[in-house]
């Protein structure tokens, strides 16, 4: 009998010793490959004003698939993403409901994924303290997923996410935002969209989005809401 439990816990302990996101992702891929997984993504879930690619922490995805997924904004119609937002429990992609007739976009995502050896998958939702939503999503063709292996994948995914998140979060010293970054976050706090902020500050929307991404990276924030909350809490902007 496979010792799923011992291997998973040893894997989790091993994660702490890894010193780069790349090494952590390699270790995760090696660990998850035993269950038949071939692709992996650790990502926050975007709100309507965010782009999927801004939210990705780390991934091992076929580059072509990432290009298509982002260009066609598949995250907005992906039934797996939809269910993930409402779920605390992990689930197989096949458990995400959609109506193939009424939701052709959903059907399209699910079908095209199979072109990239992502016929089946398993997703672990991650909900943080400040309402932040993220997930670890794993895909493959021939999966070894059963009632004993699922809990192992579940636990490994949660710890893998946390390890990478911590490595990407900058130390407190590096949190200093530029005046422009603070300005952009302040307008975001007032509910302005990236486009509107661009209009107000007379810069391109693209530039606004870059400021937001940099600010979030410096603050270690997963979403704009989180960034706003941190800034208010640390008196970087007016509430």
């Amino acid at each position: 009998m496979v010792e799923y439990g011992r291997e998973a816990l040893d894997f989790i302990e091993g994660l702490e010793k890894l010193t780069s996101v790349d090494r952590a992702m390699n270790a995760m891929m090696a660990g998850f490959r035993r269950f038949g997984f071939e692709t992996l993504i650790l990502t926050g879930l975007p709100n309507p004003e965010q782009r999927f690619e801004q939210m990705v922490l780390a991934k091992r995805w076929p580059p072509e698939w990432f290009k298509i997924y982002t260009a066609r904004q598949y995250d907005r119609v992906d039934p797996v993403v939809r269910l993930c937002r409402r779920s605390v429990n992990p689930f197989e992609w096949s458990e995400a409901p959609y109506d193939a007739e009424k939701e052709p976009g959903a059907a399209e995502v699910m079908n095209r994924a199979t072109d990239f050896r992502m016929a089946r998958g398993f997703i672990v939702p991650i909900h943080g303290l400040t309402g932040f939503e993220a997930c670890v999503s794993l895909g493959g063709e021939h999966l070894d997923l059963n009632s004993r292996s699922k809990p192992a994948v579940h636990l490994m995914a949660m710890y893998g996410f946390d390890r990478v998140r911590r490595m990407l979060a900058p130390p407190a010293a590096a949190r200093k935002l530029t005046a422009r970054e603070r300005e952009v976050i302040a307008w975001s706090a007032r509910g302005k969209s990236a486009w509107e902020i661009g209009e107000i500050l007379k810069i391109s929307q693209r530039t606004v989005e870059e400021h937001i991404v940099h600010a979030r990276q410096k603050l270690g924030a997963r979403t704009n809401t989180h960034a706003v909350a941190i800034c208010i809490r640390e008196h970087l902007i007016e509430p």
């Binding site: 799923y4 439990g5 011992r6 998973a8 816990l9 989790i12 605390v88 429990n89 992990p90 991650i126 909900h127 943080g128 303290l129 400040t130 309402g131 809990p151 192992a152 579940h154 636990l155 949660m158 996410f161 946390d162 998140r165 809490r233």
Partner: protein, 219 residues
């Protein structure tokens, strides 16, 4: 403030302890639907509520707004008695410096605010002061990312399992000054979150006394 209630000073809090049993019933049975805890007298009390239990109860004036409890692993614990399979990989903890942490609750109108973080700070501050090195916990898996975000170092004792349709796991959480500092920074908490009224005793000493003596083979 979060009141620390133990064997030494519980005589000051008998009414509070009673009221919190009813509040636990409302929240754990009523809201969370943990039907196995339901009791006809409307008090959520179990085998780990007794003279050895240490309660941390957050109060606003007379009102109980949240809390949790600690129980010595030198006595029989929930993990040992009810959920041993959740600790099947690393084993069930039994040590005077490891206490079982359970029944974490916050009243509805105080959820997801500062009180949450104060309660998390409370377990760290209390255990640090008492020389407790770890707390063990049985928790729904969705707690894990929340603990991690709060800076807790959480070591799983085994794989999660479905318990009453919720993914649940057992873990050991490290007690450290670093973790306490992290939560206090997150919650903008300055100073102590604990209030200790009346006579106090060493919590760990009581756990040492509770350790079962080795069975003697003397005829």
């Amino acid at each position: 403030m979060i009141h620390v209630i133990s064997a030494a000073n519980r005589f000051l809090y008998e009414d509070v302890i009673e009221r919190h049993f009813r509040l636990r019933h409302e929240i754990f049975v009523g809201e969370r639907g943990w039907k196995t805890l339901a009791r006809p007298d409307g008090r959520e009390v179990d085998a780990y509520d007794n003279i050895d239990t240490v309660y941390a109860l957050a109060m606003e004036g007379d009102r109980i707004v949240g809390g949790h409890r600690l129980y010595p692993t030198t006595r029989t614990t929930m993990v040992a008695e009810v959920f041993p399979r959740l600790a099947s990989v690393r084993g069930v903890p039994s040590d005077p410096m490891i206490w079982e942490w359970s029944r974490f609750f916050v009243v509805k109108d105080r959820r997801d605010g500062k009180l949450n973080l104060e309660l998390l700070a409370a377990v760290q501050e209390l255990c640090l002061a008492e020389g407790i090195t770890h707390v063990s916990a049985v928790m729904e898996t969705w707690w894990l990312p929340r603990f991690q975000e709060a800076g807790f170092v959480v070591h799983p004792l085994g794989l999660p399992a479905l318990i009453e349709n919720q993914w649940t796991m057992a873990a050991l959480i490290e007690i450290s000054a670093d973790t306490l500092a992290h939560i206090k920074s997150l919650g903008q908490i300055t100073g102590s979150v604990l209030l200790r009224r009346g006579p106090q005793h060493s919590i760990v000493d009581r756990a040492l006394m509770a350790r079962r003596p080795a069975t003697s083979n003397a005829a």
